[in-house]
Protein backbone atom coordinates (compact mmCIF):
# COMPACT_ATOMS: atom_id res chain seq x y z
CA UNK A 1 0.00 0.00 0.00
CA UNK A 2 2.76 2.45 0.96
CA UNK A 3 4.66 1.55 -2.20
CA UNK A 4 1.61 2.05 -4.35
CA UNK A 5 1.01 5.50 -2.91
CA UNK A 6 4.69 6.33 -3.40
CA UNK A 7 4.56 5.12 -6.96
CA UNK A 8 1.41 7.07 -7.72
CA UNK A 9 2.83 10.27 -6.20
CA UNK A 10 5.98 9.95 -8.19
CA UNK A 11 4.11 9.41 -11.45
CA UNK A 12 1.88 12.36 -10.74
CA UNK A 13 4.85 14.54 -9.93
CA UNK A 14 6.67 13.49 -13.05
CA UNK A 15 3.70 13.98 -15.29
CA UNK A 16 3.10 17.46 -13.96
CA UNK A 17 6.75 18.43 -14.11
CA UNK A 18 8.23 20.45 -16.95
CA UNK A 19 10.11 17.34 -18.01
CA UNK A 20 6.87 15.59 -18.86
CA UNK A 21 5.72 18.56 -20.87
CA UNK A 22 8.92 18.50 -22.85
CA UNK A 23 8.77 14.78 -23.48
CA UNK A 24 5.21 15.03 -24.80
CA UNK A 25 6.14 17.89 -27.06
CA UNK A 26 9.11 15.99 -28.34
CA UNK A 27 6.96 12.96 -29.06
CA UNK A 28 4.46 14.95 -31.16
CA UNK A 29 6.94 17.35 -32.90
CA UNK A 30 9.87 14.96 -33.46
CA UNK A 31 11.86 15.83 -36.65
CA UNK A 32 12.88 12.87 -38.75
CA UNK A 33 16.07 11.52 -37.17
CA UNK A 34 19.36 12.10 -39.07
CA UNK A 35 20.22 9.05 -41.12
CA UNK A 36 22.60 6.71 -39.36
CA UNK A 37 25.89 6.59 -41.20
CA UNK A 38 26.86 3.27 -42.69
CA UNK A 39 30.36 1.88 -42.29
CA UNK A 40 31.05 2.91 -45.89
CA UNK A 41 30.12 6.51 -45.13
CA UNK A 42 32.47 6.59 -42.17
CA UNK A 43 35.33 5.15 -44.21
CA UNK A 44 34.65 7.66 -47.00
CA UNK A 45 34.90 10.49 -44.49
CA UNK A 46 38.13 9.08 -43.09
CA UNK A 47 39.57 8.89 -46.60
CA UNK A 48 38.46 12.46 -47.16
CA UNK A 49 40.33 13.52 -44.05
CA UNK A 50 43.53 11.84 -45.18
CA UNK A 51 43.40 13.24 -48.71
CA UNK A 52 41.95 16.64 -47.77
CA UNK A 53 38.84 15.85 -49.81
CA UNK A 54 35.16 16.63 -49.29
CA UNK A 55 33.08 14.69 -46.80
CA UNK A 56 30.24 12.51 -48.12
CA UNK A 57 26.78 13.97 -47.65
CA UNK A 58 24.64 10.82 -47.30
CA UNK A 59 24.77 10.74 -43.51
CA UNK A 60 26.73 12.87 -41.05
CA UNK A 61 29.47 10.85 -39.37
CA UNK A 62 31.44 11.70 -36.25
CA UNK A 63 33.76 13.63 -38.57
CA UNK A 64 30.96 15.88 -39.83
CA UNK A 65 32.00 18.93 -37.87
CA UNK A 66 35.36 17.81 -36.64
CA UNK A 67 38.71 19.17 -37.74
CA UNK A 68 41.29 16.64 -38.91
CA UNK A 69 44.15 16.54 -36.39
CA UNK A 70 46.95 16.32 -38.97
CA UNK A 71 45.75 19.30 -40.98
CA UNK A 72 44.84 21.26 -37.88
CA UNK A 73 48.21 20.63 -36.27
CA UNK A 74 50.05 21.73 -39.39
CA UNK A 75 48.00 24.92 -39.60
CA UNK A 76 48.58 25.76 -35.95
CA UNK A 77 52.29 25.21 -36.47
CA UNK A 78 52.17 27.28 -39.65
CA UNK A 79 50.45 30.15 -37.88
CA UNK A 80 53.17 30.12 -35.25
CA UNK A 81 55.83 30.04 -37.99
CA UNK A 82 54.35 33.06 -39.74
CA UNK A 83 54.20 35.00 -36.48
CA UNK A 84 57.83 33.99 -35.95
CA UNK A 85 58.59 35.67 -39.30
CA UNK A 86 57.53 39.01 -37.82
CA UNK A 87 58.57 38.46 -34.20
CA UNK A 88 61.50 38.34 -34.29
CA UNK A 89 62.43 37.45 -37.90
CA UNK A 90 61.59 40.71 -39.63
CA UNK A 91 62.33 42.71 -36.49
CA UNK A 92 65.93 41.48 -36.49
CA UNK A 93 66.33 41.56 -40.26
CA UNK A 94 65.33 45.22 -40.38
CA UNK A 95 66.73 45.98 -36.92
CA UNK A 96 70.23 44.96 -37.95
CA UNK A 97 70.09 47.10 -41.07
CA UNK A 98 69.34 50.41 -39.34
CA UNK A 99 71.78 52.51 -37.35
CA UNK A 100 72.37 51.71 -33.69
CA UNK A 101 70.38 54.67 -32.44
CA UNK A 102 67.22 53.42 -34.22
CA UNK A 103 67.31 49.68 -33.57
CA UNK A 104 64.59 49.76 -30.91
CA UNK A 105 62.29 51.81 -33.10
CA UNK A 106 62.15 48.93 -35.58
CA UNK A 107 61.38 46.43 -32.83
CA UNK A 108 58.72 48.72 -31.37
CA UNK A 109 57.09 49.12 -34.78
CA UNK A 110 56.91 45.35 -35.33
CA UNK A 111 55.54 44.76 -31.84
CA UNK A 112 53.05 47.61 -32.10
CA UNK A 113 51.74 46.47 -35.46
CA UNK A 114 51.29 42.91 -34.16
CA UNK A 115 49.05 44.09 -31.34
CA UNK A 116 47.17 46.71 -33.31
CA UNK A 117 46.38 44.49 -36.28
CA UNK A 118 45.24 41.66 -34.01
CA UNK A 119 42.70 43.96 -32.40
CA UNK A 120 41.43 45.19 -35.77
CA UNK A 121 41.30 41.62 -37.06
CA UNK A 122 39.21 40.30 -34.21
CA UNK A 123 36.86 43.28 -34.13
CA UNK A 124 35.98 43.20 -37.83
CA UNK A 125 39.02 42.63 -40.06
CA UNK A 126 38.66 38.88 -40.44
CA UNK A 127 34.98 39.23 -41.21
CA UNK A 128 35.60 41.85 -43.89
CA UNK A 129 38.40 39.85 -45.49
CA UNK A 130 36.91 36.38 -45.45
CA UNK A 131 33.16 36.43 -44.97
CA UNK A 132 31.17 36.33 -48.19
CA UNK A 133 29.50 39.53 -49.28
CA UNK A 134 30.65 41.59 -52.24
CA UNK A 135 33.54 40.70 -54.54
CA UNK A 136 35.86 43.19 -52.77
CA UNK A 137 34.42 43.35 -49.23
CA UNK A 138 32.94 40.72 -46.95
CA UNK A 139 30.53 41.56 -44.18
CA UNK A 140 30.38 42.12 -40.42
CA UNK A 141 28.74 38.75 -39.63
CA UNK A 142 31.86 37.54 -37.89
CA UNK A 143 32.55 40.68 -35.87
CA UNK A 144 34.42 39.86 -32.67
CA UNK A 145 34.91 36.43 -34.28
CA UNK A 146 31.24 35.62 -33.62
CA UNK A 147 30.56 32.18 -34.98
CA UNK A 148 34.21 31.47 -35.63
CA UNK A 149 34.76 28.34 -33.59
CA UNK A 150 36.69 25.09 -33.74
CA UNK A 151 34.44 23.58 -36.41
CA UNK A 152 35.96 23.71 -39.88
CA UNK A 153 34.74 26.27 -42.40
CA UNK A 154 34.59 24.21 -45.56
CA UNK A 155 34.85 27.32 -47.76
CA UNK A 156 38.49 27.61 -46.78
CA UNK A 157 39.77 24.43 -45.15
CA UNK A 158 37.49 21.46 -44.73
CA UNK A 159 39.66 19.85 -42.08
CA UNK A 160 41.03 22.89 -40.24
CA UNK A 161 39.29 24.56 -37.33
CA UNK A 162 37.79 27.86 -38.45
CA UNK A 163 39.40 29.70 -35.55
CA UNK A 164 42.79 28.26 -36.47
CA UNK A 165 42.32 29.43 -40.06
CA UNK A 166 41.40 32.87 -38.79
CA UNK A 167 44.52 33.04 -36.62
CA UNK A 168 46.67 31.80 -39.49
CA UNK A 169 45.38 34.56 -41.74
CA UNK A 170 45.89 37.06 -38.91
CA UNK A 171 49.64 36.44 -39.08
CA UNK A 172 49.62 37.46 -42.74
CA UNK A 173 47.66 40.57 -41.84
CA UNK A 174 50.33 41.40 -39.27
CA UNK A 175 53.42 40.93 -41.39
CA UNK A 176 52.13 42.80 -44.44
CA UNK A 177 52.09 46.30 -42.90
CA UNK A 178 55.24 45.44 -40.95
CA UNK A 179 57.07 45.09 -44.28
CA UNK A 180 56.32 48.71 -45.09
CA UNK A 181 58.39 50.03 -42.21
CA UNK A 182 61.55 49.03 -44.07
CA UNK A 183 61.10 51.89 -46.50
CA UNK A 184 60.29 54.57 -43.95
CA UNK A 185 62.80 53.50 -41.31
CA UNK A 186 64.61 55.99 -39.08
CA UNK A 187 62.40 59.02 -39.65
CA UNK A 188 58.66 58.40 -39.26
CA UNK A 189 56.68 59.24 -36.12
CA UNK A 190 55.45 56.23 -34.16
CA UNK A 191 51.96 57.72 -33.84
CA UNK A 192 51.89 58.31 -37.59
CA UNK A 193 52.88 54.71 -38.26
CA UNK A 194 50.09 53.29 -36.09
CA UNK A 195 47.50 55.62 -37.62
CA UNK A 196 48.73 54.84 -41.12
CA UNK A 197 48.57 51.09 -40.52
CA UNK A 198 45.04 51.30 -39.11
CA UNK A 199 43.73 53.13 -42.17
CA UNK A 200 45.78 51.02 -44.55
CA UNK A 201 44.29 47.77 -43.28
CA UNK A 202 40.77 48.97 -44.10
CA UNK A 203 41.52 50.69 -47.37
CA UNK A 204 44.08 48.31 -48.87
CA UNK A 205 44.62 45.02 -47.02
CA UNK A 206 41.15 43.78 -46.08
CA UNK A 207 39.68 44.47 -49.55
CA UNK A 208 42.72 42.99 -51.30
CA UNK A 209 42.76 39.85 -49.15
CA UNK A 210 39.05 39.47 -49.82
CA UNK A 211 39.48 39.86 -53.57
CA UNK A 212 42.29 37.32 -53.82
CA UNK A 213 41.38 34.76 -51.15
CA UNK A 214 37.75 35.41 -50.23
CA UNK A 215 35.31 32.71 -51.29
CA UNK A 216 33.52 35.24 -53.56
CA UNK A 217 36.62 37.31 -54.23
CA UNK A 218 36.92 39.35 -57.43
CA UNK A 219 40.37 37.94 -58.18
CA UNK A 220 40.04 34.43 -56.71
CA UNK A 221 40.58 32.54 -59.93
CA UNK A 222 41.17 29.12 -58.37
CA UNK A 223 38.09 28.79 -56.20
CA UNK A 224 35.61 31.42 -57.39
CA UNK A 225 33.86 30.40 -60.60
CA UNK A 226 32.47 33.94 -60.95
CA UNK A 227 35.73 35.78 -60.38
CA UNK A 228 36.06 38.98 -62.41
CA UNK A 229 39.77 38.41 -62.86
CA UNK A 230 40.82 34.78 -63.09
CA UNK A 231 44.15 35.28 -61.38
CA UNK A 232 45.99 33.01 -58.97
CA UNK A 233 48.11 33.86 -55.94
CA UNK A 234 49.03 31.00 -53.67
CA UNK A 235 50.47 32.66 -50.58
CA UNK A 236 50.28 36.39 -51.23
CA UNK A 237 52.45 37.80 -54.00
CA UNK A 238 49.85 40.49 -54.58
CA UNK A 239 48.15 40.60 -51.19
CA UNK A 240 51.32 40.81 -49.14
CA UNK A 241 54.33 41.78 -51.22
CA UNK A 242 53.00 43.99 -53.98
CA UNK A 243 50.67 45.83 -51.64
CA UNK A 244 53.31 46.53 -49.02
CA UNK A 245 56.08 47.15 -51.53
CA UNK A 246 54.31 49.71 -53.70
CA UNK A 247 52.75 51.37 -50.67
CA UNK A 248 56.22 51.58 -49.17
CA UNK A 249 57.54 53.37 -52.24
CA UNK A 250 54.77 55.96 -52.20
CA UNK A 251 55.10 56.51 -48.48
CA UNK A 252 58.86 56.95 -48.55
CA UNK A 253 58.53 59.45 -51.40
CA UNK A 254 55.93 61.45 -49.48
CA UNK A 255 57.88 61.18 -46.25
CA UNK A 256 61.11 62.42 -47.77
CA UNK A 257 64.71 61.35 -47.37
CA UNK A 258 66.61 60.91 -44.16
CA UNK A 259 68.84 63.80 -43.09
CA UNK A 260 72.25 63.28 -44.58
CA UNK A 261 71.07 60.67 -47.09
CA UNK A 262 73.55 60.46 -49.93
CA UNK A 263 76.28 62.28 -48.01
CA UNK A 264 76.65 60.53 -44.67
CA UNK A 265 77.43 56.86 -44.46
CA UNK A 266 74.53 54.90 -42.95
CA UNK A 267 75.74 51.31 -42.96
CA UNK A 268 73.85 48.55 -41.09
CA UNK A 269 74.79 48.58 -37.42
CA UNK A 270 74.69 44.78 -37.18
CA UNK A 271 74.87 42.44 -40.14
CA UNK A 272 74.90 39.69 -37.52
CA UNK A 273 71.36 40.52 -36.39
CA UNK A 274 70.31 40.94 -40.01
CA UNK A 275 71.48 37.44 -40.91
CA UNK A 276 69.85 35.89 -37.82
CA UNK A 277 66.62 37.54 -38.91
CA UNK A 278 67.06 36.19 -42.42
CA UNK A 279 67.33 32.61 -41.19
CA UNK A 280 64.19 33.06 -39.14
CA UNK A 281 62.36 34.51 -42.12
CA UNK A 282 63.35 31.56 -44.30
CA UNK A 283 62.27 28.92 -41.79
CA UNK A 284 59.10 30.80 -40.89
CA UNK A 285 58.23 31.20 -44.56
CA UNK A 286 57.54 27.47 -44.79
CA UNK A 287 54.47 28.20 -42.71
CA UNK A 288 53.67 31.15 -44.95
CA UNK A 289 53.97 29.21 -48.22
CA UNK A 290 53.27 25.56 -47.50
CA UNK A 291 50.69 26.53 -44.89
CA UNK A 292 48.72 28.37 -47.55
CA UNK A 293 47.50 24.97 -48.71
CA UNK A 294 45.35 25.06 -45.53
CA UNK A 295 46.04 21.35 -45.17
CA UNK A 296 48.95 18.95 -44.80
CA UNK A 297 48.40 17.55 -48.26
CA UNK A 298 50.08 17.09 -51.63
CA UNK A 299 49.71 20.76 -52.51
CA UNK A 300 51.49 21.78 -49.31
CA UNK A 301 54.20 19.24 -50.04
CA UNK A 302 54.82 20.74 -53.45
CA UNK A 303 54.85 24.26 -52.03
CA UNK A 304 57.39 23.17 -49.41
CA UNK A 305 59.71 21.92 -52.12
CA UNK A 306 59.38 24.88 -54.48
CA UNK A 307 59.93 27.32 -51.62
CA UNK A 308 63.18 25.61 -50.69
CA UNK A 309 64.50 25.51 -54.25
CA UNK A 310 63.69 29.08 -55.23
CA UNK A 311 65.02 30.57 -52.01
CA UNK A 312 68.30 28.69 -51.98
CA UNK A 313 68.95 29.43 -55.65
CA UNK A 314 68.20 33.14 -55.29
CA UNK A 315 70.30 33.34 -52.14
CA UNK A 316 73.20 32.02 -54.18
CA UNK A 317 72.66 33.98 -57.39
CA UNK A 318 72.50 37.44 -55.80
CA UNK A 319 75.95 37.31 -54.16
CA UNK A 320 77.40 35.67 -57.26
CA UNK A 321 76.16 38.68 -59.22
CA UNK A 322 77.91 40.85 -56.64
CA UNK A 323 81.09 38.80 -56.92
CA UNK A 324 81.14 39.21 -60.68
CA UNK A 325 80.31 42.90 -60.77
CA UNK A 326 81.95 44.19 -57.60
CA UNK A 327 84.55 41.64 -56.68
CA UNK A 328 83.13 40.42 -53.36
CA UNK A 329 80.06 38.38 -52.28
CA UNK A 330 78.55 40.08 -49.24
CA UNK A 331 76.53 38.67 -46.35
CA UNK A 332 73.90 41.28 -47.10
CA UNK A 333 73.83 39.87 -50.62
CA UNK A 334 73.13 36.36 -49.35
CA UNK A 335 70.43 37.67 -47.02
CA UNK A 336 68.80 39.87 -49.64
CA UNK A 337 68.92 37.06 -52.19
CA UNK A 338 67.21 34.66 -49.81
CA UNK A 339 64.43 37.11 -49.00
CA UNK A 340 64.01 37.98 -52.67
CA UNK A 341 63.69 34.29 -53.52
CA UNK A 342 61.09 33.84 -50.82
CA UNK A 343 59.13 36.82 -52.09
CA UNK A 344 59.10 35.81 -55.74
CA UNK A 345 58.13 32.17 -55.07
CA UNK A 346 55.31 33.24 -52.73
CA UNK A 347 52.51 33.51 -55.31
CA UNK A 348 53.87 30.57 -57.30
CA UNK A 349 54.83 27.96 -54.71
CA UNK A 350 51.67 25.89 -54.82
CA UNK A 351 51.32 26.06 -58.59
CA UNK A 352 54.74 25.45 -60.13
CA UNK A 353 57.06 22.47 -60.44
CA UNK A 354 60.64 22.08 -59.22
CA UNK A 355 61.95 23.29 -62.57
CA UNK A 356 59.71 26.31 -62.40
CA UNK A 357 61.02 27.03 -58.91
CA UNK A 358 64.61 27.01 -60.16
CA UNK A 359 63.79 29.50 -62.91
CA UNK A 360 62.07 31.68 -60.36
CA UNK A 361 65.09 31.45 -58.06
CA UNK A 362 67.44 32.70 -60.75
CA UNK A 363 65.11 35.55 -61.70
CA UNK A 364 64.71 36.49 -58.02
CA UNK A 365 68.47 36.72 -57.61
CA UNK A 366 68.85 39.04 -60.59
CA UNK A 367 65.87 41.37 -61.01
CA UNK A 368 65.48 42.66 -57.42
CA UNK A 369 69.27 42.87 -57.19
CA UNK A 370 69.29 45.11 -60.23
CA UNK A 371 66.56 47.34 -58.78
CA UNK A 372 68.33 47.70 -55.44
CA UNK A 373 71.70 48.30 -57.03
CA UNK A 374 70.98 50.48 -60.03
CA UNK A 375 67.42 51.75 -60.22
CA UNK A 376 67.49 53.12 -56.69
CA UNK A 377 70.52 55.26 -57.39
CA UNK A 378 69.15 56.41 -60.75
CA UNK A 379 66.04 57.84 -59.11
CA UNK A 380 67.55 58.72 -55.76
CA UNK A 381 64.63 57.79 -53.50
CA UNK A 382 65.37 56.86 -49.89
CA UNK A 383 63.85 53.39 -49.61
CA UNK A 384 65.94 52.81 -46.50
CA UNK A 385 65.85 49.03 -46.32
CA UNK A 386 64.86 48.25 -49.92
CA UNK A 387 61.25 47.28 -49.28
CA UNK A 388 60.33 48.46 -52.78
CA UNK A 389 63.32 46.83 -54.42
CA UNK A 390 62.64 43.43 -52.88
CA UNK A 391 58.93 43.23 -52.10
CA UNK A 392 57.30 45.37 -54.77
CA UNK A 393 59.61 44.25 -57.54
CA UNK A 394 59.74 40.66 -56.28
CA UNK A 395 56.01 40.46 -55.75
CA UNK A 396 55.25 41.86 -59.20
CA UNK A 397 57.81 39.58 -60.82
CA UNK A 398 56.41 36.61 -58.89
CA UNK A 399 52.84 37.33 -59.90
CA UNK A 400 53.87 37.53 -63.53
CA UNK A 401 56.04 34.41 -63.48
CA UNK A 402 53.27 32.48 -61.73
CA UNK A 403 51.20 33.19 -64.81
CA UNK A 404 53.87 31.73 -67.04
CA UNK A 405 54.92 28.76 -64.94
CA UNK A 406 51.71 27.49 -63.31
CA UNK A 407 51.08 23.88 -64.30
CA UNK A 408 48.16 21.58 -63.66
CA UNK A 409 50.61 18.81 -62.87
CA UNK A 410 51.72 20.77 -59.83
CA UNK A 411 48.20 21.52 -58.57
CA UNK A 412 45.07 19.82 -59.83
CA UNK A 413 42.86 22.59 -58.34
CA UNK A 414 43.88 24.61 -61.39
CA UNK A 415 41.56 22.45 -63.47
CA UNK A 416 38.45 23.36 -61.44
CA UNK A 417 37.62 26.67 -63.08
CA UNK A 418 40.82 27.63 -64.89
CA UNK A 419 40.95 24.99 -67.60
CA UNK A 420 40.86 27.65 -70.31
CA UNK A 421 43.54 29.74 -68.70
CA UNK A 422 46.11 27.18 -67.61
CA UNK A 423 47.14 25.40 -70.78
CA UNK A 424 50.58 24.40 -69.51
CA UNK A 425 52.42 26.72 -71.87
CA UNK A 426 54.68 29.66 -71.16
CA UNK A 427 52.40 32.37 -72.53
CA UNK A 428 49.12 30.80 -71.49
CA UNK A 429 46.00 32.99 -71.07
CA UNK A 430 46.60 33.01 -67.33
CA UNK A 431 49.46 35.44 -67.88
CA UNK A 432 47.04 38.13 -68.98
CA UNK A 433 44.81 37.55 -65.97
CA UNK A 434 47.89 37.94 -63.77
CA UNK A 435 48.71 41.23 -65.49
CA UNK A 436 45.19 42.45 -64.73
CA UNK A 437 45.60 41.44 -61.10
CA UNK A 438 48.96 43.20 -60.95
CA UNK A 439 47.38 46.35 -62.31
CA UNK A 440 44.49 46.35 -59.89
CA UNK A 441 46.74 45.66 -56.91
CA UNK A 442 49.14 48.39 -57.92
CA UNK A 443 46.38 50.96 -58.30
CA UNK A 444 44.80 50.06 -55.00
CA UNK A 445 48.09 50.23 -53.12
CA UNK A 446 49.26 53.47 -54.71
CA UNK A 447 45.99 55.40 -54.60
CA UNK A 448 45.18 54.11 -51.13
CA UNK A 449 48.57 55.06 -49.76
CA UNK A 450 48.51 58.56 -51.25
CA UNK A 451 45.14 59.16 -49.64
CA UNK A 452 46.11 57.76 -46.26
CA UNK A 453 49.48 59.50 -46.19
CA UNK A 454 47.85 62.88 -46.72
CA UNK A 455 45.30 62.20 -44.00
CA UNK A 456 48.05 61.21 -41.55
CA UNK A 457 50.19 64.18 -42.59
CA UNK A 458 47.30 66.54 -41.96
CA UNK A 459 46.44 65.08 -38.56
CA UNK A 460 49.53 63.89 -36.67
CA UNK A 461 52.28 64.64 -39.18
CA UNK A 462 54.52 62.07 -40.83
CA UNK A 463 58.13 62.90 -40.04
CA UNK A 464 59.90 63.37 -36.72
CA UNK A 465 61.62 66.67 -35.96
CA UNK A 466 65.22 66.99 -37.22
CA UNK A 467 66.67 66.93 -33.68
CA UNK A 468 64.85 63.66 -33.04
CA UNK A 469 66.07 62.21 -36.30
CA UNK A 470 69.64 63.19 -35.49
CA UNK A 471 69.71 61.87 -31.94
CA UNK A 472 67.84 58.71 -32.91
CA UNK A 473 64.25 57.53 -32.54
CA UNK A 474 64.92 55.09 -29.69
CA UNK A 475 65.46 57.69 -26.98
CA UNK A 476 63.04 60.32 -28.21
CA UNK A 477 60.08 58.06 -29.07
CA UNK A 478 60.58 55.10 -26.74
CA UNK A 479 62.78 56.38 -23.90
CA UNK A 480 65.21 53.51 -24.28
CA UNK A 481 68.60 52.69 -25.72
CA UNK A 482 69.27 49.47 -27.55
CA UNK A 483 72.76 48.97 -26.16
CA UNK A 484 74.43 50.24 -23.02
CA UNK A 485 78.23 50.05 -22.74
CA UNK A 486 79.82 49.30 -19.40
CA UNK A 487 81.66 51.96 -17.46
CA UNK A 488 80.95 55.44 -16.27
CA UNK A 489 80.40 57.11 -19.62
Amino acid sequence: MKNTILYMSLSLALNLSPLAALAQNAATNAAPAAPTPKLEDRVTDLEAYVTNGARQTNAPTALASSPGPGHNAWMMASAALVLFMTLPGLALFYGGLVRRKNVLSVLAQCLGIAGLVTILWVVCGYSIAFHSGKPFWGSLEWKFLNGVDSTPNTDYGGWVSHNVFSMYQLMFAIITPALIIGAIAERMKYSAILLFVTLWMFIVYFPLAHMVWGVDGFMNGVFNKDAGIHAIDFAGGTVVHMSSGWSALILCLLLGKRLGFGREPMPPHSMVLCMVGTGMLWVGWYGFNAGSAVAADVVAANAFMTTTIATAVASFVWPMAEWITRGKPSVLGFCSGAVAGLVVITPACGFVTAKGAMVIGVAAGIVPWFFCLKVKSWFGYDDALDTFGVHAVGGTLGAFMTGMLARTSANSNLTNFLGNYVTNRKFQPLVFEQIKAIGLTLCLAVVGTVLIAYIVKATVGLKVAPEVENSGLDLAEHGEEGYHSEGAL
Partner: protein, 112 residues
Protein backbone atom coordinates in the same frame (compact mmCIF):
# COMPACT_ATOMS: atom_id res chain seq x y z
CA UNK B 1 108.92 66.37 -17.38
CA UNK B 2 107.74 65.53 -20.85
CA UNK B 3 104.64 63.88 -22.30
CA UNK B 4 104.78 61.50 -25.26
CA UNK B 5 101.61 61.03 -27.33
CA UNK B 6 102.04 58.22 -29.85
CA UNK B 7 99.40 57.29 -32.46
CA UNK B 8 100.06 53.75 -33.64
CA UNK B 9 98.38 50.91 -35.50
CA UNK B 10 96.18 48.89 -33.10
CA UNK B 11 97.89 45.54 -33.60
CA UNK B 12 101.23 47.11 -32.53
CA UNK B 13 100.10 47.91 -29.00
CA UNK B 14 101.42 44.76 -27.33
CA UNK B 15 104.84 45.15 -28.99
CA UNK B 16 105.18 48.80 -27.97
CA UNK B 17 104.03 48.08 -24.40
CA UNK B 18 106.58 45.26 -24.04
CA UNK B 19 109.41 47.32 -25.55
CA UNK B 20 108.75 50.23 -23.17
CA UNK B 21 108.67 47.79 -20.28
CA UNK B 22 112.13 46.57 -21.24
CA UNK B 23 113.57 50.06 -20.86
CA UNK B 24 111.92 50.58 -17.49
CA UNK B 25 108.77 52.49 -18.43
CA UNK B 26 105.97 50.62 -16.70
CA UNK B 27 103.04 53.03 -16.85
CA UNK B 28 100.98 54.45 -19.67
CA UNK B 29 97.44 55.48 -20.66
CA UNK B 30 95.91 53.96 -23.76
CA UNK B 31 92.83 55.01 -25.73
CA UNK B 32 91.04 53.81 -28.87
CA UNK B 33 90.86 56.62 -31.41
CA UNK B 34 90.10 57.13 -35.06
CA UNK B 35 92.04 59.18 -37.50
CA UNK B 36 93.73 59.49 -40.84
CA UNK B 37 96.77 61.08 -42.34
CA UNK B 38 97.82 60.30 -45.83
CA UNK B 39 96.58 56.71 -45.53
CA UNK B 40 93.27 56.55 -47.33
CA UNK B 41 90.19 54.87 -45.81
CA UNK B 42 88.41 51.81 -47.15
CA UNK B 43 85.20 51.26 -49.12
CA UNK B 44 82.21 49.28 -47.87
CA UNK B 45 79.28 48.34 -50.07
CA UNK B 46 75.78 47.62 -48.75
CA UNK B 47 73.41 46.67 -51.55
CA UNK B 48 73.41 49.72 -53.77
CA UNK B 49 75.11 52.07 -51.35
CA UNK B 50 78.86 52.55 -51.38
CA UNK B 51 80.56 54.24 -48.43
CA UNK B 52 84.12 55.44 -48.20
CA UNK B 53 85.12 55.27 -44.59
CA UNK B 54 87.86 57.92 -44.05
CA UNK B 55 88.51 57.39 -40.37
CA UNK B 56 90.67 54.42 -39.46
CA UNK B 57 90.93 52.91 -36.01
CA UNK B 58 94.21 53.70 -34.19
CA UNK B 59 95.58 53.43 -30.64
CA UNK B 60 96.90 56.47 -28.76
CA UNK B 61 99.51 55.86 -26.06
CA UNK B 62 100.27 58.61 -23.53
CA UNK B 63 103.35 58.42 -21.33
CA UNK B 64 104.67 61.12 -18.97
CA UNK B 65 108.32 60.77 -18.00
CA UNK B 66 111.41 62.62 -16.79
CA UNK B 67 113.43 64.58 -19.37
CA UNK B 68 116.47 62.29 -19.22
CA UNK B 69 114.50 59.24 -20.40
CA UNK B 70 112.70 61.01 -23.27
CA UNK B 71 114.95 60.28 -26.22
CA UNK B 72 115.31 56.58 -25.48
CA UNK B 73 111.54 56.22 -25.01
CA UNK B 74 110.75 57.91 -28.34
CA UNK B 75 113.28 55.76 -30.19
CA UNK B 76 111.86 52.61 -28.57
CA UNK B 77 108.31 53.46 -29.55
CA UNK B 78 109.27 54.28 -33.13
CA UNK B 79 111.21 51.04 -33.54
CA UNK B 80 108.45 48.84 -32.07
CA UNK B 81 105.56 50.49 -33.92
CA UNK B 82 107.14 50.67 -37.35
CA UNK B 83 105.94 48.41 -40.18
CA UNK B 84 107.36 50.48 -43.02
CA UNK B 85 103.89 50.77 -44.63
CA UNK B 86 101.76 53.88 -44.86
CA UNK B 87 99.63 54.53 -41.72
CA UNK B 88 102.29 53.65 -39.12
CA UNK B 89 101.41 56.75 -37.11
CA UNK B 90 103.17 59.63 -35.34
CA UNK B 91 104.85 60.54 -32.04
CA UNK B 92 104.35 63.95 -30.39
CA UNK B 93 106.31 65.37 -27.47
CA UNK B 94 105.13 68.20 -25.21
CA UNK B 95 106.16 69.69 -21.87
CA UNK B 96 104.34 68.87 -18.66
CA UNK B 97 104.05 71.60 -15.96
CA UNK B 98 103.16 69.44 -12.98
CA UNK B 99 102.49 65.83 -11.98
CA UNK B 100 101.00 64.44 -8.71
CA UNK B 101 100.77 60.83 -7.55
CA UNK B 102 97.31 60.70 -6.01
CA UNK B 103 97.98 57.96 -3.43
CA UNK B 104 101.05 59.52 -1.82
CA UNK B 105 100.65 63.14 -3.00
CA UNK B 106 104.26 63.13 -4.27
CA UNK B 107 104.93 65.86 -6.78
CA UNK B 108 107.35 66.36 -9.68
CA UNK B 109 109.66 63.76 -11.15
CA UNK B 110 109.08 61.30 -8.29
CA UNK B 111 105.44 61.20 -9.34
CA UNK B 112 106.17 59.79 -12.85
Amino acid sequence: MKKIEAIIKPFKLEEVKDALGEIGIEGMTVSEVKGFGRQKGHTEIYRGSEYTVDFLPKIKIEVVLSDNRLDQAVATIVKAAKTGKIGDGKVFVSSVDEAVRIRTEEKGESAV
